[in-house]
């Protein structure tokens, strides 16, 4: 790892964000809107529902905030790459003495910054609007965030690999991939709600274990370490697979001239 290169790349992304008001707007707008809309929908249902409903608003608010960590970290990796494609800067980066591991590490760093910023914002809104205390999860929160971000990074690497392979046609996948995973990840409902075959897929995804763990704690059960450890183990597998796929795609792209095509089209 070359920390000077990673720091330079992160500085570049920070400058790109701070010099572009639309990027900053996008960073805050969607998570806030989602939290407000779904939070108030749940409150409305709660007012019409029975005594069990207060638990569900906690499930939902917690799920929205934690899901955002996965989504932001996936987006940070994918958008960092797309930013270089859109600005026709990709050739400059790929022909510079920059290791791909350093490039990805910088994108991960940007993801970390984005998640930190939006998490603080969402936690503040959740506390003010719904009296939801994110810090009630204490140390478990760190483990959950870590797992969701690791999985987001794996999905981000997969997104880049698809863009390198299929060019601009695959750009929309960069936005869609987290939502392809979402129905299986049991974000807003327990894994048990899913049909049998979907449960198998759900249990093979790290976020399912995070959200199951979160719901367990909110339901008053003791913190379940097995969910957290399983999530870390699965993330190790997904990161290794996505990294291998990316390396293979990159080598193939160099063979086929796809890097030049993506960056100059």
């Amino acid at each position: 790892m070359n920390f000077s290169v990673i720091a330079a790349l992160i500085t570049r992304y920070v400058l790109l964000y701070t010099r572009n008001p639309m990027r900053l707007f996008e960073l805050f707008f969607w998570p806030v809107v989602q939290l407000l809309v779904w939070g108030f929908v749940t409150i409305s249902l709660q007012q019409q529902g029975g005594a069990e409903f207060p638990k569900y608003i906690s499930f939902l608010i917690g799920a929205i905030i934690l899901w955002d960590a996965l989504f932001r970290s996936q987006q940070a990796v994918a958008i960092s790459f797309l930013e270089d494609v859109w600005t026709r800067n990709l050739l400059n980066i790929f022909a510079a003495p920059v290791r791909m591991t350093d490039y990805l590490a910088a994108a991960f760093g940007v993801g970390l910054l984005r998640v930190a910023i939006t998490a603080v914002l969402l936690a503040g809104i959740a506390a003010a609007a719904y009296a939801f205390n994110l810090l009630q999860f204490q140390a478990a929160l760190i483990g959950w965030y870590a797992n969701l971000m690791l999985f987001g990074w794996a999905l981000g690497i997969l997104s880049i690999a698809l863009i390198v392979r299929w060019g601009h046609g695959a750009e929309s996948l960069a936005w869609a991939i987290p939502f392809m995973v979402q129905p299986f990840a049991a974000v807003f409902y327990p894994v048990a709600t899913l049909p049998g075959w979907m449960q198998w897929i759900a249990l093979s995804l790290p976020p399912s274990h995070v959200f199951e763990g979160m719901r367990g704690v909110l339901a008053g059960k003791p913190f379940d370490w097995s969910h957290l450890l399983l999530a870390f183990a699965l993330n190790g597998v997904y990161l290794a697979l996505s990294g291998a796929l990316f390396a293979r795609t990159l080598a193939s792209a160099r063979e086929r001239g796809l890097l030049v095509k993506v960056s100059s089209s």
């Binding site: 000077s4 290169v5 720091a7 330079a8 790349l9 500085t11 570049r12 400058l15 790109l16 010099r19 572009n20 930013e83 600005t87 026709r88 800067n89 990709l90 050739l91 400059n92 980066i93 790929f94 022909a95 510079a96 003495p97 920059v98 290791r99 080598a251 160099r254 063979e255 086929r256 001239g257 890097l259 030049v260 960056s263 100059s264």
Partner: protein, 281 residues
């Protein structure tokens, strides 16, 4: 030069015309029987040549002749199907980052992020290339290229000429020993193009990098390049000084040679016997 300069196209039964040879030292850049195929299309077909320190070699050829593919292979953006690219005596396949640290390039096919100020873009790339004092280096280059006033301007708001000079500044950040310039004067007005040519000459004089230069501008080639490689359909059709190539093909100027080759694909029949092939060692 070693077997490197022995034209691999000989294998195809069609030797390139070698008119001129420069230097006896080891070349900074060695292209050794490089072939690049994309499915059924052969973009570069057994090209071999070397570029020495302090030498400017021009790559000339019509669109699709293989110039940019060759440049991209040297930068490690495209992998050769056959043959080897070596720089500083190192094989690109195994020493890509070591080579790229000592290399830089300027191309019309890439740009710097438009939202960032010129100064920021250059300082970031200076850090990527491991430059010790990025701020000082950037300030010096902005002065050299007479673009100090652009330092705080967003890169996306620059004119074509200003962009080219900023890209050239980026290309000089690490004092490259190997400099690749891909059509650096494309879309520039004659005044700026002249400044760019003078700058390349000055860099060559003062820093002695090996420079590979592609252009469609014959004036660029004749004024800047010590030697020209005429690429056609992925092969080196001729190599020598601009004057030697003009004499060899018995044409009034390099532009006419270019046009004739572009239209007929061949000028072999018109080659002048007096400047015939110099046999390789």
């Amino acid at each position: 030069m070693k077997a490197l300069d022995r034209p691999a196209a000989l294998r195809a039964g069609r030797p390139p015309i070698r008119i001129h040879r420069v230097g006896v030292s080891e070349p900074i850049l060695e292209i050794d029987r490089v072939v690049k195929r994309f499915d059924d299309f052969t973009a570069v077909d057994g090209v071999s040549f070397g570029v020495h320190a302090g030498e400017v070699v021009g790559l000339l050829g019509v669109n699709g002749a293989g110039k940019t593919t060759l440049m991209n292979m040297i930068l490690g953006l495209i992998t050769p199907t056959e043959g080897a690219v070596r720089a500083f005596g190192l094989d690109l396949r195994h020493h890509r980052l070591d080579i790229l640290r000592r290399t830089n390039f300027c191309t019309t096919y890439a740009a710097l992020p438009g939202n960032l100020k010129v100064r920021h873009n250059l300082e970031i790339f200076a850090r990527l290339y491991g430059v010790r004092d990025p701020k000082r280096k950037v300030a010096g280059l902005l002065e050299l290229l007479e673009i100090e006033k652009l330092a705080d301007k967003p890169t996306g708001q620059l004119s074509a000429g200003e962009s080219t000079r900023v890209n050239l500044a980026k290309a000089l950040l690490n004092d490259p020993e190997l400099l690749l310039l891909d059509e650096p004067t494309a879309s520039l007005d004659p005044d700026i193009a002249d400044k760019v040519r003078k700058l390349v000459r000055r860099v060559q004089r003062e820093r002695s990098p090996a420079i590979l230069y592609t252009s469609h501008n014959m004036r660029d080639i004749t004024e800047v390049c010590d030697r020209v490689l005429f690429l056609h359909e992925g092969k080196i059709l001729a190599s020598g000084t601009a004057d030697e190539i003009v004499r060899h093909f018995d044409q009034p100027d390099l532009e006419t040679v270019f046009i004739q080759i572009a239209r007929s694909g061949d000028l072999e029949g018109r080659a002048n016997a007096e400047t015939e092939l110099v046999p390789p060692p």
